[in-house]
Symmetry: C2
Subunit: 357 residues, 2 copies
DNA sequence: CTGAAAGCGCTAACAA
DNA sequence: TTGTTAGCGCTTTCAG
């Protein structure tokens, strides 16, 4: 008599197909050592019973959980959404579950690192976009599974990230090539250490300026807490830049949302973009296309995919190199918000002859 | 001798604490039938060994997996991001894992419903924002676990959703009260059936007009595929509305992003908002605050929380009512993009005396 | 190619 | 209050 309420087990399938449980197991796992005839019988029985393997039971014996844990600081961002959208199907295709840990604030963060709920319950951990302390990294080290750092780099640990420095350098050079010499940089500071690439981008900006022999001016670098999501903070930042004795002719915003906000503010102030001020973003989020924003593009979907592939590789091949750093490129997408700077009053008649670099 | 490589087991902890494995189990689960003295010893031993319980093993015997599965059509949306951001910590607090299934396209969708990977591997399933076929719903019915429909309603199944109809009605009334009589409705059609609330909102719009005795004009309702994310489609839609013999004095966009795009387009065309045309959104996404958009607000974080609570309840109490519908309210947030319609040419001198309703 | 038997790590009776 | 025993559903030797 078939089991009353619960899910059917392999024993049920075996009985129905007239074989042993082992054979069912072999069949369902696709092992080649099963005769076609038997295979057919088993598969039909399984289908008829609507059978599904219990991962709990199999992982108990194989020692592998079949899950990849993913730690993210937030989900309310284009970046995370895109990365996970490519990661999830990839893991599914490999028949892996994706367990999500969202750490929106400090107390959640502390709790996570204290209990490490992923321990023993995942085959690998993907840590996204955190600015981790050494202590936290160390804690993850003895988690007993591969830990992959995504959108950040950690010395000696597998990491996947975009080359933010090079991207920001490329963006800054774009503005320099257009003739800009007063280029501002607008940075965001988010919550719970979600700031890794911020530093990197600022660094790239500085490098490009130095390479061009332009002295760094700290007045041109504005960092404000929660800048991106707070209109007032952005307004203040822009006001501050415009009131400088020598205001910038271009603004490089750390990310597109911020850039879009800046453009909105400037237009409200009747300051034409790009005629009076150029604005450059970073990311190539959908909003960039909206406002026809020039930007430095990154592909978070690629990051998700690459990170997922790396995770699968490290799981299946424990002997693999556990310290690869995979660096993804950025591309410059010039659109309509960057242009040569306005010609200074004194040089109006020599228009077209930009000061040489 | 302690095990060399693998995780320590309860047996290891038991040995170290000088007790039986059962006692370790009882202690770690917080059962009251353990003497304080023994409890202390066990806890210390567990800590020293850095022990973590294997959920696989315990679920094998308890029959509960300790995971809640979540099915989402996409992650690239404010709605999903917000809902999951509140759901995830709630589940963590209940010591539940959150397994994520992302179904971005039809082939993934087919595969999911064919294999039902969640079967036997979760204690409950939360299905977000899908426009499910009856067949799909039926398939979920014999999944052997509570299935909760979120941001949609399914007859006779537990559902949690926002009252889109009432919200859209309220929004439309707001425009009617301002004096508008020609009110357009802009709808989006997304991918993979992610359109549930779209119908509802349109319905609410129609109801409000009918109640006000205003005849429905199909020309005023524009639905375009992928409207929200495609600038051109939005541009076309707006153009179409403006070129009507009697163009609308107000536009109710199905969601804020779309509303923001419309505003951008209108301003580019030198059409003042709200002086010439009012624009109303739906959602109260961050972008609404950006552009100071009047909108109908919903709280996806509430939905995530409520849905999670319902899931936990249905898991822990199988006897509970399995057909509750929890309906969340919306609120109207009038900001600066809605105002009375411009006074028609012929009535300019009787300004202030709006046509009575 | 297939079956029998053992056991993964834990919890749930049942005894003591 | 604690220990002993059995067994959850599967995979994996090892025989055959």
């Amino acid at each position: 008599m078939p089991p009353a309420q619960r899910h059917p087990t392999m024993a049920d399938v075996a009985e129905r197909a007239g074989v042993s449980p082992s054979t069912v197991s072999r069949t369902l796992r696709g092992l080649p050592t099963v005769s076609p005839e038997v295979r057919a019988r088993v598969e039909q029985a399984a289908r008829e019973l609507n059978f599904a393997v219990s991962r709990q039971a199999s992982s108990l014996v194989t020692g592998r959980t079949g899950v990849v844990a993913v730690l993210v600081p937030t989900l309310n961002s284009w970046f995370m959404g895109s990365a996970l959208s490519s990661l999830a199907p990839l893991l599914r295709a490999a028949d892996m579950q994706l367990t999500l840990y969202v750490i929106p604030d400090m107390s959640e963060r502390t709790a996570f690192f204290e209990h490490l709920p992923a321990r023993r319950n995942a085959d690998a951990l993907l840590v996204f976009s955190f600015d981790l302390t050494d202590e936290e990294t160390a804690r993850l080290d003895d988690l007993g599974m591969p830990v992959i750092y995504v959108s950040q780099h950690v010395e000696g640990r597998p990491s996947v990230y975009v080359d933010d420095v090079a991207g920001a350098r490329m963006g800054t050079r774009h503005l320099l090539n257009l003739g800009h010499r007063r280029i501002a940089f607008l940075a965001t500071v988010g919550a719970s250490g979600f700031t890794f690439s911020s530093h990197e981008r600022l660094l790239g900006y500085r490098q490009a300026l130095s390479e061009a022999g332009i002295p760094l001016d700290d007045e041109l670098v504005v960092t404000a807490r929660a800048l991106a999501r707070d209109k007032r903070a952005t307004l203040e930042a822009v006001g501050k830049l415009l009131s400088l004795r020598e205001p910038p002719t271009a603004v490089f915003a750390e990310q597109d949302e911020l850039a879009a906000a800046v453009i909105g503010i400037l237009r409200t102030m009747q300051i034409d973009v790009p005629q009076r001020i150029s604005v450059l973003g970073f990311d190539d989020q959908p909003v960039a296309e909206w406002v026809d924003l020039s930007t430095v593009a990154q592909l978070p979907t690629d990051m998700g995919r690459v990170a997922g592939e790396l995770a699968l590789k490290l799981i299946s091949d424990p002997g693999a190199d556990h310290t690869p750093h995979i660096i993804l490129p950025t591309t410059l997408i010039p659109r309509s918000t960057t242009a040569p700077p306005p010609v200074p009053d004194g040089e109006r008649d020599s228009r077209g002859d930009l000061p040489g670099g």
